[in-house]
Amino acid sequence: MARITEQPKKSFLTGNETVAWACLAADAEIMFGYPITPQNEVMHYWTRLAPKYDRSFLQTEDELSAGFTTCGAVQAGKKAFTATAGPGNVLMQEPFGMAEAMRLPTVAVIQQRGGPSSGTVVYSQQEVTLTTFGGNGEGHRIVYSTATHQEIYDYTIKAFNTAWKYRFPVFVLGDGYQAKMREPLELYNPEDRGIEMVKPYPLIGLGGEIGVDREPSHLCNIYSLEEELYEVVMKVSAEYESISPEIEEYEEKNCEDADIIILTHGIVSRAADDAVKALRTQGIKAGYFRPITLRPYPAKQLREAIQKSGAKKLLIAESAYGQFERLTKQEIYGETIQVEHLYMPGVGIIDHDIITKVKSIL
């Protein structure tokens, strides 16, 4: 295992570079990728680091191929990842669907950009629906939504372990701002933090006699009979639901006595955190809740926060036109709290935007 730093050291990085260093620290062996803004520097930095640390990189002809080659590499027992954004994320949904069907431990970093369509490279949070439920399946995948560069580092490392432990495709959901922004963070070797990296293992070409030495390794994404598909999807769904409580993560502050809970994810949570602090100093009882995993969604914890606070209103703020709100509403169906929203698709949200909105609805 390569040590990337002798001692934990604060460094000044962009989010994309942070991804490359985290993949290195997590012992990723190969990246497959196709250039797309705003994730390009993930590739740039990985290709600068790879030769020095004996890692590999393949630039494929498009994102479909980058996704499928990632699927192939993990079957061969290689810790592999890809990174993309926007229309690249759209193309990769087919391979990601295959990863869901075949239970492949792929890791993909998504740096969200604006949409719809191809040429908009700027920041947004408009790839929530696509990243959580974009495949032609049931969304059997794990999505971490990061807010800081430290989290990008921590959760990218974690993504590999979650993928190889549970064998579901894992996503780290960033955005154009997180990709390009620079801020300090601590780079560390996972083992120095007591983080044991799950060792990759081949899923095909296994030794021994099937039925005698081992169970058959069924890696299948084609089911010709309806009943067969039904059986598989029901089995995988049950398994996904059973492991979800172990995977769900969230952050909650000041919800105990809140009159209004501000619900955000990703980078917008930083604005919500500041807004809650400012509102509290002005005597407004605001609370903060942020799902870190968007799939599986920490719905139980959000319901509990709503109930214990007795809050009358839930303000959902996002740099999209309701994608996060839709996801949340389906997860907390039945709660009677009034849901308000601040949609700013493609535009960054700062504390002032949230404070103004809160004051207008209280």
Binding site: K10, S11, L13, T37, Y177, M181, E183
Partner: protein, 227 residues
């Protein structure tokens, strides 16, 4: 084509190169404003060929209001173009024809000094100083060996700017440790530290400490550029 000759040897021409996110734009802006405050005519050139519509565009107007001539795509120029590939702003090509000082921000950092070839007359410009900006907190330049290897990859370099910081978490120890390593590398490569850049917020603490290189206190403009 008529050969460009520059009579006014007093003019300042500086090109800021270095690692992506090392502080090139911040150094270039602060240097341009510093010269401008001395009553000099200054042209600041955004020479980012990789992301030409992003670097200085969001703060172009703010800089122009302070008296700089800024060669960069404006919001109106960039509208609808997005990431339309590598593009050279025609005004950047002829930047040296402007009267007065010219400060070139060689953005993105992938080609080092090679990008300067795009500027007409650059080889005949006796005042040109190519300055490499070094932040020891950047992982690719965070040790003596890595910094040396990096500087040697840049092509022409006439001097170094020591710009070690950790954004909002910068403390004087970080700045001084970075300076020491940058200086050692500079001595080895026979490159002077032209100046050390320090966030103006650290003025009070830094002012107590004597260092062997010129210190410039800088104001941060790039957080306003967002991208």
């Amino acid at each position: 084509m008529a050969k460009l000759t520059i009579e006014n040897t007093a003019r300042v021409v500086e090109a800021y190169i270095g690692e992506y996110a090392s502080g090139k734009s911040e150094m270039a802006i602060n240097r341009a404003l510093e010269l401008n405050k001395q009553g000099r005519r200054v042209t600041l050139v955004d020479l980012d060929t990789v992301e030409p519509f992003y670097t200085l565009r969001p703060i172009k107007k703010i800089l122009e209001e302070q008296g700089l001539n800024v060669i960069s795509f404006s919001h109106e120029d960039a509208f609808g173009l997005g990431e339309t590939g590598a593009m050279l702003n025609p005004r950047a090509r002829w930047a040296l024809r402007h009267e007065g000082d010219v400060i070139l921000d060689i953005g993105y950092g992938v080609y080092g000094a090679a990008t300067l070839n795009l500027v007409e007359g650059i080889d005949e410009c006796p005042e040109l100083k190519v300055l490499a900006v070094i932040n020891q907190s950047r992982p690719m330049t965070n040790s003596h060996e890595r910094t040396k290897e990096y500087i040697l990859s840049l092509g022409r370099v006439d001097g170094l700017v020591a710009n070690t910081h950790l954004g909002n978490e910068t403390v004087t120890e970080v700045v001084l440790q970075g300076l020491n390593i940058t200086k050692e590398v500079g001595e080895e490569l026979n490159l002077p530290i032209v100046y050390m850049a320090v966030d103006e917020d650290l003025w009070e603490e830094m002012n107590q400490i004597s260092v062997s290189v010129p210190v410039k206190y800088i104001k941060k403009y790039m957080p306003g550029a967002m991208w």
